[in-house]
């Protein structure tokens, strides 16, 4: 018999199962996205998944790792889906491919593969693409315009000319532009495509709560993320209601919910101790708010996560929990 040691009983779990549940939790948000904004997202997910699996297989082969074991773990698919969701649904196919390739090949495998990446791969992809292709990364379906499925697909696969007039910035961008133009606004804040964004955000929230219930993630990161962001947004809004959007807008707009439950909670690149998670996520929330409100980019989640990723070793080192029996010593 093989040399094995206790425990001999193991819980029925695996990396694959964890990743599958994360994917499952993303499904409501994706469905809402497809229904409310258009099926372009589904095409993006398909492109991203295929690219990710191909890149993962190639890298595993190059690195001499067992293909079946790692390809099936689902981690590449999670990265692919996050890339697809965070990219504009009408982005050209090759942009998604570049993003996913960068995430899998550079951000993941060049750092040692599964479990070794210091930065969130999907956010690396987003950051690289928004810096390299700012125009394409900022083209979102126009306000109130429900694009026909065929039209979205044409755009994605470059079959129709991209008309600037048919796309516009994200609601956050629109808000920023509006505030910059000093128009002021007393009425309801501009929600793009009706309240679609908010509905999608609530779907992500539901998926995130499912992950908390399944104990895939803990409450610390989403709470600290949303709490810190909401607090800062609330303070500024109370101070100058005309100059800043209300906290609900910030929490339900942009990538806040997705970031709080699915991106900042990436265990590999995030903090791991309970206090560390709170500090890490609060940092992400604050930075994201600052970048999205005062910075030049449409949303700040990606950069906020990457900046806080850098701080993780330090945060973990200084927040080691006291062990059993040593709490009052």
């Amino acid at each position: 018999m093989e040399f094995s040691t206790s425990p001999y009983l193991l819980k029925d779990t695996s990396v694959r199962r964890v990743m599958t549940q994360v994917l499952l939790a993303l499904v409501p948000g994706i469905v809402a996205y497809a229904l409310l904004i258009g099926p372009g997202i589904l095409a993006q997910i398909a492109i991203a998944t295929l690219t990710a699996l191909a890149a993962e297989a190639a890298m595993l082969r190059l690195r001499d790792k067992p293909l079946a074991l790692f390809l099936g773990d689902g981690s590449a698919v999670v990265t692919a889906w996050l890339v697809a969701i965070t990219f504009p649904p009408v982005a050209p196919w090759w942009l998604t491919v570049v993003g996913v390739l960068f995430a899998i090949v550079v951000a993941k495998h060049l750092y040692g593969g599964l479990g070794q990446n210091p930065f969130n791969p999907a956010m690396i992809a987003f950051a690289v693409c928004i810096v390299s292709f700012p125009a394409l990364m900022s083209q979102w379906p126009g306000p109130g315009s429900h694009l026909a499925p065929a039209q979205q697909l044409d755009w994605i696969f470059g079959l129709a000319p991209r008309l600037d007039g048919m796309t516009s910035a994200t609601p956050l961008d629109a808000l920023k532009t509006a505030l910059r133009a000093d128009e002021g606004h007393s009425g309801p804040l501009p929600f793009l495509a009706g309240n679609a964004q908010a509905v999608i955000a609530l779907c992500y929230l539901a998926g995130g709560l499912f992950l908390v219930w399944r104990k895939i993630i803990t409450w610390h990161i989403p709470t600290a993320f949303l709490g810190a962001m909401g607090l800062l947004a609330g303070l500024l809004w109370l101070w100058q209601p005309a100059g800043f959007a209300n906290p609900v807008f910030h929490l339900l707009g942009g990538g806040a919910m997705l970031g709080a439950f699915f991106i900042a909670t990436d265990p590999v690149s995030g903090a791991t101790t309970p206090r560390g998670k709170l500090i890490f996520a609060a940092g992400v929330g604050l930075l994201a708010y600052i970048i999205r409100v005062f910075g030049g980019y449409p949303d700040g989640i990606a950069f906020a996560v990457l900046i806080m990723n850098i701080c993780v070793p330090l945060i973990d080192m200084y927040t080691q929990p006291k062990v059993f029996g040593m709490k009052d010593q």
């Binding site: 040399f3 040691t5 595993l60 082969r61 001499d64 790792k65 067992p66 293909l67």
Partner: protein, 180 residues
């Protein structure tokens, strides 16, 4: 011009004073490097390195006179540790690494000449002239220095057997490699 020179001179004086103060304040007694090196050496005192004991070898390494790979009882692990400490390149061991061993006196053959007692660097042999000698196993470092002086060749080296108390759990890694 004069002001510039004065400032530079003042700077030189201040920095010089600081350095001088630091050299007095943070003076290190003895040579901590030798102690650190010696702490890595296995203290078998066997002289296989060509030095009469672990401390002289440590001193020679610290002075840069001796290489770091001359200690067979320390093994490759010891060479690695020395390389880490000194920031040098680890080298293959100059000598043969043996499993840990102890000397054993064949008590029927021993004539009680005390030569091995004199040779033992760590006082691990007890006995008196014309009396049978024996080795205190727990004190023996397995240095083999008692072997050459024995006129009747009654000393042998025995590998130390693993017991339930000294047994170690194995390293569990199964390297994940593609099955070709």
């Amino acid at each position: 011009m004069l002001i510039a020179i004065a400032i530079m001179a003042l700077g030189a004086v201040v920095l010089g004073a600081a350095l001088g103060f630091a050299s007095v304040k943070f003076k290190v007694d003895g040579d901590p490097l030798v102690d650190k090196i010696e702490a890595i050496l296995p203290q078998t005192q066997c002289g296989q390195c060509g030095y009469p004991g672990c401390k002289p070898y440590a001193e020679a390494i610290a002075k840069g006179e001796a290489d770091i790979n001359l200690c067979p009882p320390g093994g490759a692990e010891g060479v690695g540790k020395l390389a880490d400490l000194l920031g040098r390149e680890a080298k293959p061991l100059d000598g043969v690494e043996k499993p840990p061993q102890v000397a054993l006196i064949d008590e029927n053959t021993c004539i009680g000449c005390t030569l091995c007692i004199q040779a033992c660097p760590v006082d691990a042999i007890v006995g008196a002239a014309k009396q049978m000698h024996t080795i205190v196993e727990s004190l023996c470092t397995g240095c083999e220095l008692c072997l050459p002086p024995c006129p009747v060749e009654c000393i042998t080296m025995e590998p130390i057997q693993e017991t339930v108390d000294t047994w170690k759990w194995k390293y569990p890694v199964v390297e994940l490699k593609r099955v070709a």
